[in-house]
Point group: C3
């Protein structure tokens, strides 16, 4: 990140409600409060770190309006509504430097089928392969070594990063972003067991990706047996996620890293799946369901459910079980003690009767 902002530029972006102090340093980096050095911008985004502001060596610190304190010499404090949002604004500026707008055109090393239709504002980087009858929309950017298979189509403004792969006939809507190594349209995993062997069930459907979807590095999305595997508008998928054939994912979901979704399952809108969660096949997760990391879900969930554990239970029940689980050794002891006491009591009551 090679950046340089004058303090005035930071102030112009942050639009602070109050400013204290000043600095002569140009801002050349961003860092957490305790790690920051002169020339860094820092911020208080989480109350947990409030005590670190005083000792931070950052040249500029973004602070929430309820923070009370004075900058050190040569340090500038900016009070803003939401320090984290302001930081994102500044990072947005840096992002434009990190990923400069590509020049439209087709790199001479790319291998493009004659029948492909590529918008003139698109950029096809080095060593990409584009097969027959592909459509690439305006302002798309295929960075390098990307593969787009026969008759696949990309909407406008898609960004396919190095080594990402879209196989035959799959369809990406506008502004889809594929990180390196993503595979869209691998075959679904379907076999019939016939005469002692697994015979392949042909997988002739497609994958369709809605607008504004982002898919993390090396994630894999299988094409449908027939019809389509679908990812809804605005859904964000992290790295190394597996989406099985005929899965339908709704709008604005979040799938954290290493999640796996088995075939023919429906994930409704606004669902959040924690890292490494596994979702069984042929079920429906209701709108807004939240599934904790590593959970295993094998039956339908009500809208708004919050589940954890394998097999997944309601968050509260699972949490209570996790507490009680640790008290199991004691419980076994208590039951043993009860049994012994009862034996004694019976003996003594038998003696009473005899006596």
């Amino acid at each position: 990140m090679q950046v340089s902002f004058l303090p005035d530029e930071i102030v112009a972006i942050a639009k602070p409600s109050m400013v204290k102090g000043s600095t002569a340093e140009a801002i050349r980096g961003i860092a957490g409060l305790s790690a920051a050095v002169a020339g860094d911008l820092s911020f208080l985004g989480n109350n947990k770190y409030r005590s670190q502001v005083r000792e931070s060596r950052a040249s500029i610190v973004l602070l929430p309006v309820d923070y009370a304190g004075e900058p050190a010499a040569g340090q500038m404090f900016l009070w803003v509504e939401n320090p984290s949002t302001v930081l994102s604004l500044i990072c947005g500026r840096i992002e434009q430097l990190l990923w400069p707008k590509p020049t439209p055109g087709i790199h001479p090393s790319a291998v493009i089928a004659r029948s492909a239709r590529i918008a003139t504002s698109a950029t096809i980087g080095p060593l990409c392969v584009i097969e027959d009858d592909v459509t690439i929309g305006e302002c798309c950017h295929l960075q390098a070594q990307v593969f787009v298979g026969r008759a696949a189509s990309l909407g406008e403004g898609c960004w396919l990063q190095p080594g990402s792969i879209v196989t035959a006939e799959c369809r990406l809507h506008d502004r889809v972003r594929l990180h390196p190594g993503v595979v869209v349209g691998s075959d679904g995993f379907g076999y019939d067991f016939v005469r002692g062997r697994h015979e392949k069930v042909p997988q002739v459907g497609i994958v369709e990706i809605g607008p504004d979807v982002e898919i993390g590095a090396n994630s894999t999305l299988d094409r449908a047996r027939f019809s389509r595997t679908l990812v809804g508008e605005g859904t964000k998928i992290d790295n190394l996620v597996q989406v099985g054939h005929n899965v339908v994912i709704g709008k604005h979901c979040l799938l954290c890293a290493q999640v796996g979704i088995s075939g023919s399952t429906t994930i409704q809108d606004f669902v959040v799946l924690g890292g490494q969660a596994g979702i069984g096949g042929h079920i429906t997760l209701g709108k807004g369901s939240k599934i904790a990391g590593q959970a295993g879900v094998t039956s339908d969930t009500e809208p708004g459910s919050f589940l954890r554990g394998t097999p997944a239970l309601s968050f509260q029940l699972e949490q209570r079980i996790n507490v009680l689980k640790q008290r199991l050794p004691g419980l076994f002891d208590r039951v043993k003690s009860l049994e012994e006491q009862l034996v004694d009591l019976k003996k003594s009551s038998a003696r009473d009767e005899v006596g």
Copy 2:
């Protein structure tokens, strides 16, 4: 999926035992019963969906012989032995359109070592790299951007999809299919801890893949420390699966997505591993073992075992534990109540004695 079948063509493939109704529509798609529209073929493959047949708008519906009902106007019902099998036959026809037979030859952009031996019926697609002393058998298809390392060999009819990688000296038998991004022959993960550092244990074995094996997108198979990591004939591996060094997988196994197998473990024939299951190192899973999704297995299993949970237990015991687990809060209450009653009983019995 751009297809078009006349109703007569569907009948010719399906060979129905009974036909009712007729349609003027050409079949341009395949869809589930409730999603189908005019021009679609649909099918009743699962009794769960029986009630959807009546309202389906599919132009042709494949039905099992025990289904009783009448088609709507302009709709055709075909009764067949197994609707799912017939659908696979039809999809098989579509598959040939989806993946047209490639033209033999070497794309001029591929980089091929002079010492490589490539069968004349093989197709080497754009931007592939083939190193020295590689052997590529008849009718192999390396689609695009594939890498085959020094002295590796491929049998006949292998299909290596875009971005798949086979490293030095590894061996694929006939009809192996690698989906995009598969890595065959990465180094095993072996280190000796010497003087405070992890020193690499050289990994100089290979990976050998039996005939008719299919490996899903972005899966990784490590080369052996010495000798070979082996995948047996007819085994099917899903996406994002990890196979450690010196693992031996038998014939006709199924490994679902995101499974991980640690080094030197043996998986016997016909084993099925559910998604995200983890198998420890240096153990043997007996023939036909079934391991549920997310299970963790760290010791040998008997042939025919069916296990789930971490650490994995018999399916029935684990299921019973999962039920009882939810009753733990009640059990703690019951034990507490028992303890209180016993105290009362002791008190009263003490009073009796005193009285």
Copy 3:
């Protein structure tokens, strides 16, 4: 592995303290004791296999000094301090044949930005892409189809295997080894939920990889939101591992396959993470912590901790719970029996009082 060592060459490498027997065979392979045939070298590295030495058909067997036994005719036994270490020495020799030293230079099919600075001793293989302002150090080897993004830098002696990807501005120190398909520098997974949509939080930091780090096939490491995601010197990462943004991994750690680490977590030096373990965000794993396979850790751990389970508990407690878990059905029966006995006892004691 096409190798051939004369028995004398093996003796010269092994430097045995004692030799018995002799063989006329050249050593053309390495195999386990029971699998070995004539022409193979084998070894006793694990006492478990001691009984297999006698029947091994290996031409040369490496044995620990406490082994007592005689070679068969035409067989040579070599007694050494550590058979496994000697095997690694021999494999090290084979490794040089497996991965021959590449010839320095740039393959004509590689696409190199004019502003890239590439050391003259480096090897840039076929179909690599190197963007503007990249620095590649001495003796680096980019094998084939590698991508290095704008302003990224590699130290000396790095080895980037086919299809590995380093994105803009990321930094690899000396002797980093990336296996096929590794992605260094994908975007962190950060979004703000604004007006019903997930808005991207720009990820403008980098990934920095310390010296002597090795990263397994298809693993993914996300760039920081700002500042850097860091992997410390000598740490070894297995296949399909996910490292989130702003994670800091210490020196000499081991991360087994399919591990996932959420954002902003710190892993101190010498930590070992078992396969498929999941580590939550914003926590610290203390120095030398060991986390079992499939464990889920969501809070800080003390240095030297040994945890397993989800949520992770101390190894001993979790192990005890796992034993007791299997006795739950019996415990429920015992509590039910206690309740019935208590009812009876109360009845009889009531009768006593009445009587």
